[in-house]
Structure formats: structure tokens, C-alpha cells
């Protein structure tokens, strides 16, 4: 019997469940390697070569090179792992999160200062926001 996944109809949200954890294993372990200063240095000075040391799919590698966080998440990445990439780039969680929303950094920051994104209209896929 299939697993119950009640979270699949939450809009704009990817839950890092068993299937995604398996899919993103190598991508996420590559991210873990960036917790060492020497690896960050090596990655930033030759990204493609560094990525080729990991058993990631071509799509995963390209998403990293593009810093396309939504794509990385769709390919099994988890934000706490991916944070090692944007931290290596000197980018904050706020900036990284804003890059996934289609808002500019300033628009996003202002939205947060105004109390954040409302849950109204954002609970179910298809619900009008």
C-alpha cells in the first residue's frame, strides 16, 4: 500500500521525505563537504571539476552551477544542506529564500517586515491567493 502523503497539496512547498532523501543523497552529501574551509575554497575555484567528484546527476550539477535552489529542491536537495552552498557564497538565508519566491530581495525583505507571507490563499494547491 502506498504511503500517505498529505503534504503534496501544499502549494510552493516540497517536503523532504523518504523518496526525495534517496533522490538527493549525493547532492546533499556534496553540500555537507562544504562545511570544511578547504573544500569551499576548492569548490569556488573550480565548481565543475569539484562537482564531477560527486555521483550527482547532470541536472543536479547544472542546478548547483546555476544556483537554482528551486530546481535543486525538485531534484532532492534540502534547504539545510543547500545552505552550505549559499553560505559558501556569502549569501544569507533570507537572500536565498527570496531567490526561490520570484520576488526581488527588497520585495521579500519588505514582505517579511510587514509580517511575512500570509497563509490565506497559500494552504492548498489551486486555492486563489
Amino acid at each position: 500500500m502506498a504511503l500517505d502523503k498529505p503534504y503534496e497539496d501544499v502549494p510552493g512547498t516540497t517536503i523532504f521525505d523518504a523518496e526525495r532523501a534517496r533522490q538527493g543523497y549525493h547532492l546533499n552529501q556534496f553540500c555537507m563537504s562544504l562545511m570544511k574551509a578547504e573544500n569551499r575554497e576548492r569548490f569556488l575555484s573550480g565548481e565543475r571539476a569539484y562537482l564531477d567528484e560527486w555521483r550527482m546527476t547532470e541536472d543536479q550539477k547544472q542546478a548547483v552551477l546555476d544556483r537554482d535552489y528551486n530546481r535543486m529542491i525538485a531534484l532532492g536537495g534540502n534547504v539545510y544542506f543547500l545552505s552550505k552552498i549559499f553560505s559558501s557564497d556569502g549569501i544569507s538565508f533570507e537572500q536565498a529564500a527570496s531567490s526561490m519566491t520570484g520576488q526581488t530581495r527588497d520585495e521579500y525583505r519588505q514582505m517579511m517586515l510587514n509580517g511575512g507571507r500570509s497563509p490565506d490563499g497559500n494552504r492548498y494547491v489551486g486555492e486563489e491567493g
Partner: protein, 279 residues
């Protein structure tokens, strides 16, 4: 006999740690948040706990994909701060309490909660930011800390009910320790926030306020809240709030609420803070 005197709940946003480390706490953006922790700092200076059992989650720092324990207790003498990608935070190393931690392990596993023992691990912002909020920037942390890590990164985290029941088992464990110790239990993480995807930036103050109210006065009912409600209402990372249920389970049924604080935003997150005293 060791006794649990109080519980503290607080969010543990990494940007708060950065604001402290970079001396920005009095900036316009941060000052209102840090004002909300003045009460707690004064309070804990008088309380002088001997040990804090600090419930938090590791954010893919000590635990990557190679090892994913649902509940892990740090039994070592010392824990260094993690390098989360920008170098370790300039905070003191955490001094553990191996005697109590091992005692808790033995008691709680016999009470049907299968803890993972960790002797070598670093501690990330999930643990160090709450310490900084409550103690500021001392040369050394003023008490021992037992790190208690809960998996909330890989779905599914433990349920609120299981966390609440675990809190009760932790209480039985702590109260059966012979040394006379003043122990606090902290629950950290939350409140509403989502760090990923087009819905990032979600904040649900109504949910958060209700959670703050119910964790004090209706923890039994709140424990029944299913995961999906946390995710849908409080954001994919808002599910960290289950860790507050461990803290609450370790306290008396009736507690005295000494302090409550709520603030939006800290980076992407709603910040909540409670101080509860066993009455």
C-alpha cells in the same frame, strides 16, 4: 535528587546568532527582538541552573545523510560549535554533563524511547543561538548543557504526541538522578517559517499565538496536532515546533507562565519565547 525547575522555549534563527556575533543587536532591525530577551537574561542570572537539557535540531551539521537519528543525546564532556559554511560561531565550547546524560540514556531507553548516543559531534546554531540569547557573550557558558537533538529535517519528524510523551520520560529520568541538581529543559526552533520554494516567507501569527497559549494551558490537546497542520499552517520548517512539546512534557501539568514574547520577523522567521516555571 535532580529536579526540573523550569522550561524555556525559544526560536533559534541563525541570523540572530550572526547579529550577536557581528555586534548588530542594537540596530533598528534587531533591537526589538533582543529587548524581548532582557527578561530572560535577568531571570536566568538569578536562577543559576546547573544543567540545561537543550532540545534542538541539527541542521545538516553534525548529521548529514550518512546518519539520521530521530532522537540523539550528547553524552560527551565537550561539544565544539559547527562550521555551517561560514566558519564556526565565535562562542564558547559547550560543556556537557556525561554522568546525567548517560543516566538519562539508560532510563529513557528502558522507558521505551530508543535514543541514539552521540559522543562526537559539533553543535550548530540550533543549540548555540538559544544559549547566546539567554546568556549573551560570556567567556564560558555558565552551566553544563546536554544537547538533545531531534530529527526534523528528514520527513517524518516524531509526532507532537511522541515528543510530549518523551518529555515525560525525560522527567522521570532526571528526577531519578541522585545528585542535587537544578535542571532546566529548553525546547527550541520555530515558530512559523518556511525557508524553501515559492511559499518561503510564510508567517502565521494566529497559529503561533494559539500555539503559545495552548502549550502552556492545553498541552495534552496540542500534542494531538498532526504534522500536516504544522506544515500547512506554520510552514515546512514550522514543524520544528514539535520540539517545544518535549520541553512541555518534562514540566508539571500546571506551570506558571513567567514570560511570553513574540516577534516578526527575524530573517525568514517568527520568533517565539516562553519561560515556564514548575509550580
Amino acid at each position: 535528587m535532580a529536579r526540573i525547575t523550569a522550561g524555556v522555549a525559544t526560536s533559534h534563527v541563525p541570523a540572530i546568532g550572526a547579529a550577536i556575533d557581528l555586534g548588530k543587536t542594537q540596530d533598528d532591525y534587531w533591537a526589538p527582538l533582543f529587548k524581548g530577551y532582557e527578561f530572560g537574561k535577568n531571570w536566568i542570572e538569578k536562577e543559576k541552573p546547573d544543567v540545561i537539557l537543550l532540545v534542538y535540531n541539527d541542521h545538516a551539521s553534525a548529521f548529514g545523510m550518512d546518519l539520521i537519528p530521530t532522537f540523539a543525546i550528547g553524552c560527551a564532556e565537550e561539544f565544539a560549535p559547527s562550521d555551517e559554511g561560514w566558519g564556526p560561531r565565535p562562542v564558547p565550547r559547550v560543556q556537557g554533563h556525561p554522568e546525567l546524560a548517560w543516566h538519562i540514556m539508560q532510563s529513557v531507553i528502558q522507558d521505551d524511547f530508543d535514543l541514539t548516543v552521540v559522543n562526537e559531534m559539533t553543535v550548530d546554531h540550533g543549540l548555540t543561538v538559544p544559549l547566546s540569547l539567554m546568556f549573551g557573550q560570556p567567556e564560558a557558558w555558565p552551566c553544563k548543557v546536554i544537547p538533545f537533538a531531534v530529527n526534523v529535517v528528514v520527513y517524518p519528524p516524531p509526532s507532537g504526541q511522541r515528543c510530549y510523551n518523551l518529555g515525560k520520560a525525560l522527567r522521570r529520568a532526571i528526577e531519578s538522578f541522585d545528585d542535587d541538581l537544578n535542571v532546566q529543559v529548553w525546547g527550541t526552533g520555530g515558530m512559523s517559517h518556511q525557508l524553501q520554494g515559492p511559499r518561503a516567507g510564510l508567517i502565521n501569527s494566529e497559529f503561533d499565538q494559539d500555539f503559545l497559549e495552548r502549550i502552556v494551558n492545553d498541552p495534552e490537546g496540542l500534542a494531538k496536532l498532526p504534522h500536516i497542520d504544522y506544515v500547512r499552517e506554520a510552514g515546512s520548517e514550522g514543524i520544528e515546533l514539535v520540539m517545544w512539546m518535549i520541553m512541555r512534557g518534562a514540566l508539571n501539568e500546571n506551570v506558571k507562565e513567567l514570560y511570553r514574547f513574540y516577534h516578526v520577523p527575524a530573517s525568514n522567521t517568527a520568533v517565539g519565547h516562553l519561560i515556564l516555571e514548575n509550580s
